[in-house]
């Protein structure tokens, strides 16, 4: 086996800087996530208990298996909650800095808008807007390139899903105008 001669270093000029102020510590995130998981486990356990967790004549009832999974989930998240509360592990550790948060939000908010717009405008128009907007605003790519890429992408998706594979995707007024 050849000895490594070159090391690949990937430079990212827009990478979040390391000294950006911390938004939230790992301990806080641990506690919040454990609480959410605990709530989820309680909800699912309750629903499964309502469905039936007993052993019927023909085998386990529908809620039997998920109920016990929920119990295990609750136990594990309770353990996580107690360890972070008692030991305070990760209290000084930064989970997320402000720069990183900004970066995540730059992707999260457009995606959220995309999901909402899909309900009204249909998948294809919404994905056109998402791609064009992303390339133009965040990527700072020339307007015509962004529009062309987004347009071609939407058309290819439409041909692939709606025409070739007969998968019906959510559609809006524009598609209706063309009779689809």
């Amino acid at each position: 086996m050849a000895t490594p001669e070159t090391e690949i270093v990937v430079e990212d000029p827009t990478a979040p800087s390391d000294n950006s102020p911390s938004v939230v510590s790992t301990r806080t995130v641990d506690i919040v996530v454990s609480l959410l998981l605990l709530a989820l486990a309680a909800l699912l356990c309750f629903d499964n208990w309502r469905t039936g967790i007993a052993w019927a004549a023909d085998g386990p009832q529908a809620g039997y298996f998920p109920f016990y999974l929920g119990l295990i989930l609750a136990a594990a998240s309770l353990y996580a909650l107690i360890t972070s509360l008692v030991t305070g592990a990760g209290a000084t550790q930064t989970f997320l800095t402000r720069d990183q948060l900004r970066r995540v939000m730059q992707v999260f908010i457009p995606t959220l808008l995309f999901c909402l717009l899909t309900q009204w405008l249909g998948l294809y128009v919404a994905s056109f807007l998402l791609i064009a907007g992303f390339m133009r605003i965040i990527g700072r790519i020339a307007l015509w390139k962004s529009m062309l890429t987004a347009f071609l992408f939407a058309i290819i998706m439409f041909v692939t899903f709606d025409i070739a594979f007969d998968v019906i995707m959510p559609k809006g007024p524009l598609e209706a105008a063309f009779g689809y």
């Binding site: 086996m1 050849a2 490594p4 001669e5 070159t6 090391e7 690949i8 998981l37 699912l44 629903d47 499964n48 469905t51 039936g52 019927a56 023909d58 085998g59 386990p60 009832q61 529908a62 809620g63 298996f65 998920p66 999974l69 929920g70 295990i72 989930l73 594990a76 998240s77 353990y79 996580a80 360890t83 070739a164 594979f165 007969d166 998968v167 019906i168």
Partner: protein, 297 residues
């Protein structure tokens, strides 16, 4: 040596230029499917199924199986280059492959993955061909309790072998299994955890239900609709009759990916390269197991 004769007969059927070309196309498509994370072999086969509508049965089956085999290798590419397993079964490749790629040995890692994938599948196919008749009678004794025991062992070893906190592994596993349980219980047919919300029932491949509706609508195309219906029937058993085992296996794997990616990150952070020498046997073992598992399903 009846099996050997059958194997040779298979080769005589397959060794034509047309079939080889179909294999080539299938493998290329399969590699694409495998490279895309989240799009696995079974999904790829399901999506590319319409391509085979115009083919004769032999070419169609050759193509679909080649898509599957291509996906088996394709998953390793992203595992090695991006530390993201393209497939559930290439998770193990991230342990050794990505650290190698970081040292500039990506080509060696890809070659090793490809070679071990090839040897693993060859051995698996040969084993299945010659041992299947013998195993068949034994395999029929494998009922739900045995399957449960095997999966329990799998999940226990995830907890035991993972280097992350044990409770985090447990959380991601139970979460995956619970998500798999949403919808219709395959044993009794009762709805569970849907809270009366129909959207939660629609977690299968999106086209399946809609396609039938569409075909009923333009019912002029009877032949094609019948074929789609047939392919649906063919597709169902992969998940259906084994009860919770099918989806649970998939989501258990998904849960494992989450846990194992953390593990792989950990290796990468520490610059842990002691695994390089153990690469080939370990990968061959993992991938061979994956293939055996796929083969017996």
């Amino acid at each position: 040596m009846e099996a050997f004769g059958l194997l040779l007969h298979g080769f005589t059927v397959l060794l034509t230029w047309k079939t080889l070309a179909v294999m080539m196309v299938g493998l290329v498509l399969g590699v694409f499917v495998g490279v895309l994370p989240g799009l696995g072999g079974p999904n790829g086969v399901a999506i590319l199924l319409p391509l085979t509508f115009t083919m004769d049965p032999t070419s169609a089956i050759v193509m679909l199986s080649c898509i599957y085999w291509g996906a088996l290798f394709g998953g390793a590419i992203t595992s090695i280059l991006f530390n993201i397993p393209g497939e559930a079964w290439s998770v193990a490749t991230t342990f050794d492959g990505y650290p190698m790629a970081q040292q500039g040995q990506a080509a060696e890692a890809l070659t090793a993955a490809f070679t071990s994938s090839f040897i693993g599948s060859l051995v698996a196919v040969l084993l299945i061909t010659f041992l299947a008749p013998g195993i068949a009678s034994f395999a029929l004794q494998f009922g739900p309790p045995e399957f449960f025991a095997v999966y329990l062992l799998t999940f226990c070893s995830f907890v035991g072998l993972g280097r992350e906190d044990k409770h985090k592994t447990v959380i991601s596993m139970t979460l995956g299994l619970l998500l798999a349980g949403i919808g219709m219980d395959t044993v009794s047919g009762t709805l569970r955890m849907t809270f009366g919300w129909n959207e939660l029932l629609r977690h299968q491949f999106p086209g399946r239900g809609d396609r039938t509706v569409r075909h009923q609508r333009n019912s002029a195309d009877h032949g094609r609709a019948a074929r789609v219906a047939w392919s649906h029937r063919q597709h169902q058993p992969a998940r259906g009759p084994q009860g919770v085992e099918g989806p649970a296996a998939l989501l258990g794997d998904a849960a494992a990916i989450v846990g194992d990616r953390m593990l792989a990150r950990y290796h990468a952070r520490r610059g842990d390269c002691r695994l390089v020498h153990g690469l080939q046997p370990r990968q061959a073992l993992f991938q061979g197991q994956g293939q055996l598992r796929q083969g017996t399903h």
